[in-house]
Amino acid sequence: MVSASPPIAEPQSTGRRADARKRRLIGVGRRLGARIVAALVMIWAVATLTFFLVHALPGNPVQVQYETLLSHGVPPAQALKETRIIYGFVSHEPVVNQYGSYLWQLLHLNLGQSISYSGVSVSHLVLAAAPWTVILVLSGLVVSFLLGVLAGAVAAVRRTSKLGDLLSISGSLLHGIPQFVMAVLLAYVFTTLLPVFPFGAPYDITVIPGWNLAYIGSLVSHAVLPVFAYALSSYGGWMLSMKSSVVSVLGDDFVLAAELRGLKPLTQLRYVARNALLPLFTVFALSIGFMFGGSIFIEDVFDYPGLGHLLLSSISARDYPLMSGTFLLITVAVILSNLLADLLYTFIDPRVRGQAS
């Protein structure tokens, strides 16, 4: 729907237009740069916070690790080295050195080593778990977006009818249910009360992973409930924002103008839809953070081996390197999604694009 500029270009003003375009591009570039820097600063802040959290934990896990190794008869030099591999730093050094060495390791994407899965690097564990979470969160996002936006649009157009009221109520109601409760409810109803969906794990142990129907079918049927737990818990947000957005756009002068100019109903619909969807980018940013956060509860309820699950099990196993690695990754995912939403917004809304210059 982003239209090309009209083909009329008179020679004498081409230069002026090119200039304007260049200025606009510089503006966009500056804005993008600022956003990216802000995101990097946030990631750095979270990494720092994680470092000091682990550092401040009662019982100093780094020191404990070192002493455990010593008590197992590991020579001190060797114990120091192993501790450094696990945490990225050792507590004998001054804090500044520890911090520097931790950041240095992070820059190399080295998150240390897990304690509970001994000998396995945190990066490896986290990367293995991440796809499951990402798939669930993205599917949940798509489903809730489609359901919510559709219902919101209908609720706006039919706002004086019973159907409109009903949809609005559905939005407010679902909006109020916490993710954890939603997950437990779905699990109880659809795996126990009416066992139509399997419980837990991403697929049946009986099927062989690969490009075969049995495996894919199993994946999908296991994913349905957690995806809906995500989707239903953020459906209300989409629905309510879409409704108010459509209502406000329908009241805009340009919508009446489009009608009075005899534009095709489909063209009018496109005008309204695009303008109404635009403000939802802020919801997108909120929603994605909400979903990654919710993975802790939802994956726990459905026993799904994603990042949330990993984070919880690392906490109960006091696996600090794994814990901070997982936490860091979840936060970075949220920050990056927000950045992406923001960049898309800049790209789509010409008014924001214009403001930069």
């Binding site: 805009d252 534009l263 095709k264």
Partner: protein, 354 residues
């Protein structure tokens, strides 16, 4: 010179025969808004002719139903409003109030060009002007949509706009005055036969206003349009209009050639309206504000003269009987009991009697 000519055409057409009428003809139009107090008429029993080649100035206080009437000409009265009686007949098209769907859509924009009271924001903020012109062309089945851009560019240049820049701009990149002019371009680019301008120049300074109206008048004459200008600015009517129609509380209380109505106003409301305007050359203190307040929908009397509560000349009959529309001169009518009675303006009374 040009103006003299078009005025003569106007009076001819107004007096001309019914069948050969070219333009837009409103008959006995009533429009109500559904409110908590029930359905209230915002326009009642209005007759109005917009002949081709004539500029009609429509004036009246805020809330007198001018925009409602204008929207009804496109059969586009917004809900909770609806047309309950009457017809809007366009020559060559038929009764627009009966059109639906595609036929109605083609008439809007294609035959009737409408320039918004709020044409500050009449464009989709997310699309360039040129792209929206292409949408317009495609919606109206123009064989080669791109040609419309050339047509629009010509109109833009005539309006004093840099066409290349405007067509590749978004609405937010244009100033208020530019947007208003672009609104006029959209109304004219498909060769509409009727041009409806609802307070077209409110966002413009005096000089741009004069320039834009001059261009509108030129194009009006070239294309022999039926043009109606809704305005609060009597000076615009005096300058531009061939005919003048005065509305009050949803009724047409007076109509005639602009010159006649301005010089020999017959209706007490028109007289009060004209007295309330400070002349540019005259003394501001000489302007007398209209006493009382314009009625809202709920307080418009349904029996008798709608103006009687503010009329200095009201008589007992005014509360009980609707004043009929009577002729007070050639092509000059008014709806007032006085005009029909012995107190009518002396110069006109002979003609009424005759």
């Amino acid at each position: 010179m040009r103006r003299r000519q078009s005025r003569d055409t106007a009076s001819e057409t107004a007096a001309g025969n019914e069948d050969g009428f070219e333009g837009l003809r409103v008959r006995d139009l009533t429009i109500v808004y559904g409110t908590e107090a029930g359905e209230l008429a915002a326009v009642r029993g209005v007759d109005l002719d917009l002949p081709a080649g004539t500029i009609t100035g429509l004036v009246g206080e805020s809330g007198s139903g001018k925009s409602t009437l204008a929207l009804a000409m496109l059969n586009a009265v917004p809900s909770p409003g609806r047309i309950t009686a009457g017809s809007v007949t366009m020559s060559g098209v038929g009764d627009i109030t009966r059109l639906r769907g595609r036929a109605l859509r083609q008439v809007r924009g294609g035959v009737l060009g409408y320039v918004f009271q709020a044409s500050q924001n009449s464009l989709n903020p997310l699309k360039r002007v040129g792209a929206q012109l292409l949408d317009l062309a495609r919606s109206h089945g123009v064989a080669q949509p791109r040609l419309i851009l050339g047509e629009a560019a010509k109109l833009c240049e005539r309006m004093g706009l840099d066409a290349t820049r405007v067509l590749s701009s978004y609405q937010h990149e244009l100033s208020g005055g530019m947007r208003q002019r672009v609104g006029i371009v959209f109304a004219l680019v498909l060769n509409a036969k009727v041009l409806i301008l609802d307070e077209p120049t409110t966002a413009l300074d005096m000089l741009s206003q004069a320039a834009v109206l001059e261009v509108v008048r030129e194009i009006h004459a070239e294309r022999r349009l039926a043009t109606v200008i809704i305005t609060h600015d009597i000076a615009v009517v005096a300058e531009m209009a061939d005919r003048m129609v005065v509305t009050y509380a949803g009724r047409v209380v007076e109509s005639g050639t602009a010159g006649d109505v301005l010089r020999y106003a017959a209706h007490p409301y028109t007289k009060a309206l004209l007295r309330s305007i400070p002349r540019i050359s005259g003394d501001i203190s000489a302007a007398e504000p209209l006493p009382g307040r314009p009625p809202d929908l709920a307080s418009i009397p349904t029996v008798g003269c709608v103006f009687r509560e503010r009329c200095p000349l009201a008589m007992p009959i005014c509360s009980d009987v609707d004043p009929a529309t009577v002729s007070v001169g050639p092509g000059h009518t008014t709806a007032c009991h006085l005009a029909a009675g012995p107190l009518a303006v002396p110069e006109q009374s002979e003609e009424v009697a005759g």
